[in-house]
Assembly symmetry: C2
Homo-oligomer: 421 residues x 2
């Protein structure tokens, strides 16, 4: 089937025919506004023109990568995958996942909850806005979604059935290529800032410890089917306001490493941190205040996640009476294993964060935190800091004893002068 | 469907009606002999009474664990899994995998190549027989089956489709329980030698580093979908003679860690090593000669496997022009990653070997190498050595620099007196 994006009037007419959506939107004229970022999908806000608070989001996932077009075809399954993941994560975390009202696989289309008083977190961070409940909410979302999909909670056969059902080859391939492979070689999809020193690019290709570490994370991404992850949890996949936090767009969801989502979020907070040396200064403010808040959020997200995840695990073993390590739930070995597990998960998280930062600097898909820095020299300097931190996260991921050490290094690298390879 | 094992005459009549099998066996009366070990399946040799070289093996996998009966039901899929795995491994290694002539899922039955001049390796090792081509053949079998199922060779979507197709929850659960969980706690399925010191049993339950390491291997077994493994590659799953080596019984096959099969084989060679202090002495021979051969085989299997596996990988990258690490196949990073990968694989292998050894000493399913030791005190002493080595393999698995160091420790523990916890 040839895909054709709806015209606004076609979309309005279609939605009128869906009882559950029509009931939400009410009678009268519908207003349709396209709001997608253009990378992958068509996204519309559809509202009742006379009662704009009656509103839904329509997302249409065409059978190709929108950014590239027909030359990068994608399958219908990605929309079905996203709907299934929204429902699964929504069941675990209803307060942080938009509701799905309607899904139509034939049209590559879903209708979901409108988050009308929320904005995309990335934009809020660029604007220097403080979200007081963000870290607590994300820690809770991450702990619940990542714990309940894993062998630490599910019966082994249910977990294995979920692994098979949630295979997502097509979108995983995008990550395998764009995050873990292309940035480390010459590839036409890579894109470098004009002023980025050649030595910084060469280092990604030639520094063996970095290359080895990135390949280890690639292997983990492709092989460690630990839990159902969101798969693309950057700050553009989070909608926020003062009181709420929602995670959207889980079309990359698959059974992957527990640390992948946590790493993606930390990576984006750390990119935002370095980028603030431009954005806050441009607003005439001392960047260090907001930067301090950003690093605090990285600390609160990891520590909150780790505490909640371990708490869910401990509680489940207590309730069931059985420990993953074997024997009774209160065996000292159960707690000893939990501690080692969380250490290993932390190292994984940092490794994935490093890869995610690198791809945003030299890979195809950029982040506005960086691209909106108008001064080439400043942008390149900030990008170099991002790359240096990313390398340290990857290569030394087993050596960091705490997230506190990570943010200390993050701040230290901000204070250092330029790049030397 | 109620399962009923064939009577010999029913089985003969059935086989006569299958053209391909009937052609192999020829006209005339068929002789049917039951030869299964009774743990899981019914196994028959069926031969032409007038021409005994015309012969096949019939394996019937009932919908329950034969050792336990109806109380441990199993699904029909395990027979289908075994047939699929035999065909897959056979395509990769025809000289080391028996041919499948016929499969009948409705009857839980397969007809496969008779290995008439071969015997089960475990029995041969107990009898102190040298198999000059064993290590080379097993290194080749392991390298080929484990490499060609992995992301190092397969296209990512083909690999992921194979992961989903080869989910084997039921038999994996047996391993998860009997290898990785029950031996480390009190469980009714555990079985201890009369003279095994209480301290040796207590150590399995109380020594935290051992418990943590075993749980890490359990996690890897359940989560690391690296390649299609045989899943039960002990010396009872290998048929040998002077010139040939065949791997049989892959009903536990699933996408799991590359090190699992290699570890299983090493574990069984090391158990055989300690057991020879009884068997060779009983035959009036100095055990150290055959023990030396056994340790040599452990070295040759690992080193041969590692060299062939890395060689297949290197060759594939050279042929395709692309490295897993990204960039060109000849990038120094490709070789650096390969070396680290093989180190990690070695550590995994040792960890799995340790778990496999422990389960054979204290778990439900024993090995004849050990159970045939008639003297309780000698058996217990040998079992203690097995447990001590297993613990070292698990806890220090990242510290062994080579298989040479492993066999040195193996020999050293043989020379030490009794167990102290």
């Amino acid at each position: 089937m040839e895909f054709e994006a709806f015209s606004p009037s076609e979309l309005a007419a279609y939605l009128k025919r869906i009882p559950v959506v029509s009931a939400l939107l009410g009678d009268g004229e519908l207003e349709v506004v396209e709001v997608g970022d253009g990378n992958l999908n068509y996204v519309y806000f559809v509202s009742n023109a006379a009662a704009p608070q009656r509103s839904v989001v329509v997302k249409q996932a065409p059978p190709f990568l929108r950014l590239v077009g027909d030359a990068w075809p994608l399958r219908r399954e990605r929309m079905e995958r996203e709907v299934a993941a929204l429902r699964r994560f929504g069941a675990l975390c209803p307060q942080h996942v938009p509701q799905v009202y309607h899904a139509d696989s034939g049209l590559y289309l879903m209708v979901i909850q409108r988050l009308a008083s929320h904005r995309v977190l990335r934009g809020g961070l660029i604007d220097g806005i403080v979200y007081p409940r963000l870290a607590e909410h994300m820690a809770s979302y991450l702990a619940r979604t990542l714990f309940f999909g894993s062998d630490l909670y599910l019966a082994p056969d249910a977990k294995k059935a979920a692994v098979a059902a949630d295979i997502n080859s097509e979108l995983c391939k995008i990550t395998e290529d764009l995050v873990f492979t292309f940035p480390f070689g010459e590839h036409p999809s890579n894109a470098y800032s004009a002023a980025l020193p050649a030595a910084a690019i060469a280092r990604l290709r030639e520094h063996e410890p970095l290359r080895v570490a990135a390949a280890q994370m690639k292997w983990a991404f492709m092989n460690h089917a630990e839990t159902l992850v969101h798969g693309d949890l950057h700050t553009g996949s989070i909608m926020v306001n003062e009181t709420d936090t929602y995670v959207i767009d889980p079309e990359f969801a698959f059974y992957g490493p527990i640390g992948f989502d946590v790493g993606a979020l930390l990576a984006n907070l750390l990119l935002a941190y370095y980028a603030q040396d431009w954005h806050e200064r441009r607003r005439g403010r001392d960047p260090q205040v907001y930067q301090g808040w950003l690093l605090d959020q990285a600390v609160l997200v990891w520590n909150g996640f780790a505490e909640k995840f371990a708490g869910l695990w401990r509680g489940h073993e207590r309730d069931s009476g059985r420990a993953f390590v074997g024997g009774a739930a209160d065996a000292p070995a159960a707690e000893a294993f939990r501690q080692r597990f969380m250490q290993r998960l932390f190292a994984d998280t940092l490794g994935f964060a490093g890869c995610k930062m690198i791809r945003r600097i030299v890979g195809m898909a950029k982040v506005a935190d960086i691209t909106r820095i108008a001064d080439d020299a400043v942008r390149a300097q900030i990008e170099v800091r991002c790359l240096r931190l990313a390398e340290a996260l990857l290569v030394q991921r087993d050596a960091f004893a705490s997230i506190g050490e990570v943010v200390e290094l993050t701040a230290r690298l901000r204070a250092q002068p330029g790049f030397d390879a």
